[in-house]
Amino acid sequence: MSSQTLIDPSDDVSMSLASNLAPTRRLRDGLFRVLLFASIGLALGALAVLLLRTWFDGKGAVNLKLLENQPSERPQRAGIQSGIWGSLWVTGFCSLLSLPLGVATAVYLEEFARKGRWYNHLIEVNIQNLAAVPSIVYGILGLAFIARGPLDWGPTVATAGLILALVVLPTVIIASREAIRAVPGSLRAGSMALGATRWQTVRKQVLPAAAPGIATGSILAVSRAIGETAPLLLLGGLTFLTKNPSGLDDRYTTVPLLAFNYATSPRAELREVAAAAIIVLMLVLLCLNGAAILIRNKFQRRW
């Protein structure tokens, strides 16, 4: 990720050379530069339009009533309360499963797995692949085996949380592995030279040193789980539920699912509520992303 530029790209030799270029070459270079600026401009501009447009679409409906009211087809009474509780329950359960499992897998692959064994290679390639499986496919898995089929948990918080845990698991594993890999080997060697076992070294040295990186990755994974919608379409979350879930075996809906419901409703006034739900969602994600960046910048040690 980090490109260590040895020279400052803005003021090295090439600039002085560029001024001596023949006119057509100079024109081409200028054009190229303009194209690059346009590319960055397109990305940043589109993001700005997206955020502003959503804000102006929904700001009229962002108020306490939105958070307090239960979902409703009537625009004046429409809210997202059950979605907020649903998101909390589902994301909570998802984190409870995916974070320990993800970190454990990362520790195994980085600290315990013997390199060159076929099964360890299989696990690594498999995780790379899982990371790129479309999330809707996880929804199909949940539909076949968990919501219905062998487990038959129905359209519940537990089903949704479990499937989202599987969706974000590769993200947690990959981020945790990077954090663990960044811990220098001298730390491990020192610990083991003092007589610590491998597990003691991991527990007392490696994990504490890798904690900021793992935390950053975990927060990003959790924010992905909060915004994830597609697999839940198949897992019965798409309802105007007017009762908050109060346990793992309760029915649920989430904020993004409610936004989807409001956006696709035949009543155009409900689009404003959809936009407002999206604003709430984006504010939460912005805070989480901000926290992740803060942790990365503040606590991450360079070795």
Partner: protein, 293 residues
């Protein structure tokens, strides 16, 4: 030593769980898909061109939704590849460190926007304000593959940009210095030195981004429409494979019916395509990676 063994065992089984997940995915897709092809001939599925599995009489020609997916992905990559590559060149070769430090987190922010938000943006802004207004061909309605594709392109742009930039950062400085010393301009260093040296990473990034576009669901469900429509005009609404799965799966389809099995058949096709793309991407990186001293 007892604790050591337990630790290794517990951690190892956590790692094994990821393999089990893959096996479960394959099995969950396989059984209903096999049953599906017991009722619908593969010939009808792959060669006919009428898609109406939930209607009567049901028709199972998958081509219209495959073409819908192709349109959305093609448009997406046409947006994301040039713009993502441009952004990567800018960040890697042109931007001052201070500017980089500001722009990179903003691109990460773009990568973290949930797809439901992109879908809503496509439905309420891109489709009515851009596509409907400016697309010259045909009678454009509320839904269009073009709008869905443009926004999907925006969604995968950060993937292309950040992975390509990683590949460019791995190109050693000595190559750039050599080219500059021979009198190359900055553009020539970009296009004739950095680009060829980073090409495997860039291609892998592109393949991965295409795979993302093919598997993207919320934008397709919201903005590309629910009408299977085999058309040469991307301004029209077209159902995609993911759009079908999302729409059919969110209704109350009874287990064991042909409609239920169709979800899995399309899911298998989607999984096969994205899996092939992912393997290809990983292979490209492994096979063609230049290792510099």
């Amino acid at each position: 030593m007892f604790i050591e063994r337990i630790a290794r065992g517990v951690l190892g089984s956590a790692a094994a769980l990821s393999v089990i997940t893959t096996i479960l995915i394959v099995f969950s897709l396989l059984e209903p898909t096999v049953e599906f092809f017991g009722e619908v001939s593969p010939k009808e599925f792959f060669t006919t061109t009428k898609w109406a599995p939930l209607f009567r009489p049901a028709r199972f020609g998958v081509w219209p939704i495959v073409v819908g997916t192709l349109w959305v992905s093609l448009i997406a990559i046409l947006v994301a590849l040039p713009a993502g590559l441009g952004a990567a060149f800018y960040l890697s070769e042109y931007a001052r460190p201070g500017v980089r430090k500001v722009i990179k987190p903003i691109l990460e922010l773009l990568a973290g926007v949930p797809t439901i938000v992109f879908g809503f943006f496509a439905l309420t802004f891109i489709n009515p304000e851009l596509v409907k207004r400016f697309w010259p061909v045909g009678n454009v309605g509320a839904y269009s593959a073009l709008g869905a594709g443009l926004v999907t392109g925006l969604m995968i742009l950060p993937i292309v940009a950040s992975l390509s930039e990683d590949a460019m950062a791995a190109v050693p400085q000595s190559l750039r210095h050599g080219a500059f010393a021979l009198g190359s301009s900055r553009r020539e260093v970009c296009t004739k030195v950095v680009f060829p040296a980073a090409i495997s990473g860039i291609v892998a990034a592109t393949v991965l981004a295409v795979s993302r576009a093919v598997g993207e669901t919320m934008i397709a469900v919201l903005a590309s429409g629910q009408q299977a429509n085999l058309s040469k005009n991307p301004g029209l609404g077209m159902q995609t494979m993911t759009g079908f799965i999302g729409a059919a799966g969110s209704g109350d389809v009874a287990t064991g019916t042909i409609g239920y099995k169709t979800i899995f058949a399309v899911g298998s096709l989607l999984f096969a395509v994205t899996f092939a793309l992912n393997v290809l991407s990983i292979r490209i990186v492994r096979r063609f990676r230049q290792v510099y001293e």
